[in-house]
Amino acid sequence: MNPPDPLDPLLAALRNAPAPDADRIALGLETRVLARLREERALAATWLRRWSLVLGVGTAACAALLVNNLLDLSAAGLDAACTGHWLLLGWF
């Protein structure tokens, strides 16, 4: 039979030791988690809006240049396309 390990009683003491700060951390944890979730959702929504803006303006600019090249528009036509971009940008 193996002799008892002297670490066993120490491990038992550590096992039964109260967790420092556990009660304080548990108090109101759900409120803090929900607040963090809302914060993360708000941050994600902000990023989505920013990327939508970038993609939207980029797509509009490409489309305007394509139309300009296809129809061989005059400078006035190009100005109108640019105004269109800015209107779209404003809408975003």
């Binding site: 550590l14 096992r15 420092p20 988690v33 963090r36």
Partner: protein, 199 residues
């Protein structure tokens, strides 16, 4: 939120999870309220400072919220949460291990960590706690779950994603490493102590 009066515990959890997936914050808050004691107790075995402990506990539930739709009800919800908590703690230990700052008890105290008053009656328990914290993250996780949390090898295998035989091997090696670290720290403390104290 579901009516809890006529449902069994499992059905209630199932309903709460379904509601939380649909975006019901009160249902998710109720899930946290029911399981936070267990999860906080588990992460408290690993968290070095109160701030780390709070962040770890929050991380577990944030990750659980993101993964709720993947929960298949094939294991108790608490087990599923413990698995997430174990992974969070392992990641945390690996970050700490890369920095190694926790090897100094003074650095721990500087960072706000204070041992529980109940432990300070026996300095050897504090030495053991320090020795445990100097083990590699994987050994520390397995040994904490097995020796301090009292989980079965099967549960630990489920939490960590290791095979049962691998858990047994790691627990055995961790125990040997703990013994070696404990002796090393105890010897260095004896040498550091003035002769009149050690007498």
């Amino acid at each position: 939120m579901p009516d809890h009066r006529t449902m069994s515990e499992t059905d209630e959890i199932r309903e709460l999870i379904a509601s939380a997936i649909d975006g019901d914050e009160r249902a998710f808050a109720e899930l946290i309220r029911r399981h936070k004691a267990r999860i906080v107790r588990l992460v408290a075995r690993f968290g070095r400072t109160p701030a780390d402990l709070d962040e770890l506990a929050q991380d577990v539930f944030i990750k659980a919220h993101r993964a709720l739709h993947r929960y298949r009800h094939d294991a108790p919800f608490e087990h599923w949460l413990c698995r997430i908590a174990t992974r969070c703690c392992q990641d945390y230990l690996r970050r700490l291990y890369r920095r190694r700052w926790f090897t100094s008890l003074d650095a721990l105290r500087d960072a706000g960590f204070e041992p529980a008053p109940a432990d300070s009656t026996d300095p050897r328990v504090e030495t053991l706690r320090l020795a445990l914290r100097r083990l590699p993250p994987d050994q520390q996780t397995v040994l904490t779950l097995f020796e301090l949390e009292g989980h079965s090898v099967r549960d630990i295998a489920h939490f960590t994603g290791l095979s049962e035989s691998n858990v047994k091997v790691r627990a055995h090696r961790a125990r040997l490493a703990l013994r070696a670290e404990f002796d090393l720290i105890a010897r260095s403390e004896t040498r550091a102590r003035p002769p009149h104290e050690s007498a």
